[in-house]
């Protein structure tokens, strides 16, 4: 399952380069773990890092593109283009907050559209946190993040029965580094479609 997701991500990257579409800020985040894969510590499960390893070169590409343009973040067209292919896979949060950020609503709307276009797909929304703060409290915070994302999609017409939530707190970081860049990518709700 994870492998097919990363293959799809690769495809998206290629398509995006061809179309010269400026990547939205969120996509770089999804693939970024590969860049830091070799620093995965023994304390964190390394499965994400392992399957991301093949994507290393493309990750650098998208990271550069994203760095060029912050305005791309709010570009709905870009998000929609992605959505038609695989659906949005992650949305991001502020530190110690489960509020849906205005920067993330376009991604959620794209996700809703994609789920409507793919009515047989179900998704598990994983709530994640950065490593700061108490691991126990972060389990609760991750749960709220996933629940908020689910609620947002329900309001856009997606049936709750197609969406499950699970919190991983700070236990499964996307990026194992200990800096703001990593933290901002780890504060996420991840859509595991199936």
């Amino acid at each position: 399952m994870k492998r097919s997701v990363s293959i799809k991500i690769c495809m998206v990257c290629v398509i995006m380069s061809l179309m010269l579409v400026v990547s939205c800020g969120k996509k770089k985040v999804e693939t970024a773990p590969a860049a830091a894969a070799d620093t995965a510590t023994d304390t964190k499960p390394a499965d994400d890092a392992a399957n991301a390893a093949t994507d290393t070169e493309k990750v650098e590409d998208t990271a550069v593109m994203a760095a060029d343009d912050n305005a791309g973040k709010k570009e709905t067209a870009g998000a929609a283009a992605v959505a038609e292919t695989v659906g949005v896979s992650d949305i991001y949060f502020d530190y110690d907050s489960s509020d849906i950020l205005s920067s993330e609503t376009a991604a959620l709307e794209a996700k809703a559209q994609w789920l409507k276009a793919n009515p047989n797909v179900k998704t598990t929304i994983e709530g994640h946190c950065d490593e700061r703060g108490t691991s126990e409290y972060n389990l609760a915070l991750g749960d709220r993040r996933a629940a908020r994302a689910k609620s947002f999609l329900e309001k856009l017409g997606i049936s709750g029965s197609r969406m499950e939530t699970v919190s991983y707190g700070e236990e499964k970081p996307a990026v194992p580094d200990h800096n703001e860049d990593a933290w901002s990518k780890n504060r996420r709700a991840h859509f595991a479609d199936k």
Binding site: D42, T43, D96, S98, G133, T134, S135, E136, Y137, L139, A140, L141, G142, D143, R144, A147, R148, S151, T165, V166, S167, Y168, E171
Partner: protein, 444 residues
């Protein structure tokens, strides 16, 4: 586990009082005041025990008993152990009883307390007599005889150590308590258990998933914990003697942070199944009794319950005022009071055994530090400092020490300090990282 209990029951067959302890009247003035942060440590000498048959086994056991007892007493922070090299006389040679002890030669080296003893070993059975003397008064304070097997020598040291602690604090001390914590050494987060001083660490769960938040039942016989064994956070109860594990949260959602209600077999925990993360009261079989914290928002978090020793009040973390802060709820009236006002991130409350204080970890200048605050509120006192994050405080059962996790040396380890923040030391280091310590009651 069963074996251990058998051993203990086998061993402590006989604890005979040789001589009635008279001398000391048990008035409170004689006790060490454990509330005094500037406590003067009581100097104590623990020489070798006298070997009755002069066998090698006895010599070895004598050395082990003396070393073990010294280390235990040292660990409490109440005692200063006098170096054997300073001794002017050797009770194991000269004699261990009152008439044979020249108390002047002990006062001269600055000790106030003296432990002597004798050991007899026969076919792996041992008989150990231990005495505690008040050196200044030249009087006998405690006198005990223990019978057991060779392998029970550490147990005997613990028992006599507890007699010494009882004499000086009036309480039961910590020598029969244990700690539970999470460790990642196996490649998964699992619960481990060790003795009060970090010795004898053992893996207590084999879930091969993320497992944390251990919580001891009042009698120390059961551990509740959170585990992803079934793919999401749920609460399980493990009977340590039988090994039997029960899932107590069959409902959907995020089910976390168990805490036993003192003196009962009920468990409070945070559940998310009905909107907001609220604290509920469950039986240890998993039947929901009631929701303890009111639902104040669909997106709210109430978590990490910790009960006052009388079970009448519950400290917990809530983000109802915007950031995670410590609150206290009275279980009869339902009244809730906010306890912490300093800082934007205060979590992991731990109610002290005396009921007077609550320890917690709070964000201060970008680092998590351990604080203690009066259970009725007031000015928090910061116990840890410096680089690294210090989290998850847990009181020893006598309230004298606090265990916590710290990243001060890089990887997260379990540390111990006095309740005043002094004498901070590493409890143990295992492969991987250790977090989330919880201290049991004495379980002998």
């Amino acid at each position: 586990m069963k074996k251990v209990w058998n051993k203990i029951s086998l061993l402590i067959v006989i604890v005979v009082l040789l001589i009635p302890v008279m001398a000391l009247a048990q008035n409170d003035d004689e006790y060490i005041t454990i509330t005094d942060p500037n406590i003067k440590k009581a100097p104590i000498a623990v020489p070798l025990l006298k070997s009755m048959t002069k066998s090698q086994d006895e010599a070895k056991l004598s050395d082990e008993a003396s070393k073990t007892l010294s280390a235990m007493l040292d660990y409490t922070g109440y005692f200063k152990i006098i170096d054997r090299a300073a001794f002017l006389e050797e009770p194991s040679v000269k004699g261990v009883d009152l008439p044979n002890i020249n108390f002047r030669s002990w006062t001269m080296i600055g000790t106030e307390l003296l432990v002597t003893g004798r050991i007899l070993e026969k076919n792996s059975d041992i008989t150990v007599d231990l005495y505690l003397y008040d050196v200044a008064r030249g009087s006998l304070l405690v006198s005990k005889r223990y019978k057991g097997k060779i392998e029970n020598i550490r147990e005997i040291a613990r028992r006599f150590g507890t007699e010494i602690i009882r004499k000086f604090t009036g309480g039961e001390g910590i020598f029969f308590s244990r700690l539970a914590f999470s460790s990642t050494g196996t490649g998964n987060k699992e619960i481990f258990v060790c003795d009060f001083d970090g010795s004898a660490p053992k893996q207590a769960t084999r879930t091969r998933s993320i497992t944390m938040s251990p919580a001891w039942s009042s009698d120390g016989s059961m551990l509740a914990y959170m585990s992803y064994q079934k793919g999401k956070p749920d609460i399980y109860v493990k009977n340590l003697a039988s090994g039997k594990v029960t899932l107590i949260t069959p409902m959907k959602g995020t089910n976390i942070t168990p805490a036993w209600v003192p003196g009962t077999t009920d468990i409070a925990a945070s559940l998310s199944y009905s909107g907001g993360i609220g604290i509920y009261l469950l039986t240890r079989e998993g039947k929901i009794r009631n929701r303890i914290t009111n639902k104040w928002s669909e997106w709210g978090i109430d978590s990490q319950p910790s009960f006052s020793p009388d079970g009448k009040n519950m400290a917990f973390v809530s983000n109802r005022s915007g950031t995670p802060q410590i609150f206290v709820q009275n279980l009869d009236s339902g009244n809730v009071k906010r306890l912490t006002y300093q800082g934007k991130y205060n979590t992991s409350p731990s109610w002290s055994p005396s009921g007077k204080k609550i320890a917690y970890s709070g964000l201060s200048n970008g680092r998590y530090q351990i604080f203690v605050i009066d259970a009725n509120g007031g000015e928090p006192q910061q116990l840890t400092n410096g680089s690294g994050d210090n989290e998850s405080p847990a009181w020893a059962p006598d309230g004298s020490l606090i265990a916590f996790s710290s990243t001060r040396e890089g990887a997260s380890r379990i540390y111990v300090m006095t309740a005043f923040g002094t004498e901070q030391r590493k409890l143990l280091a295992l492969p991987g990282e250790q977090t989330n310590p919880k201290w049991s009651t004495n379980t002998h």
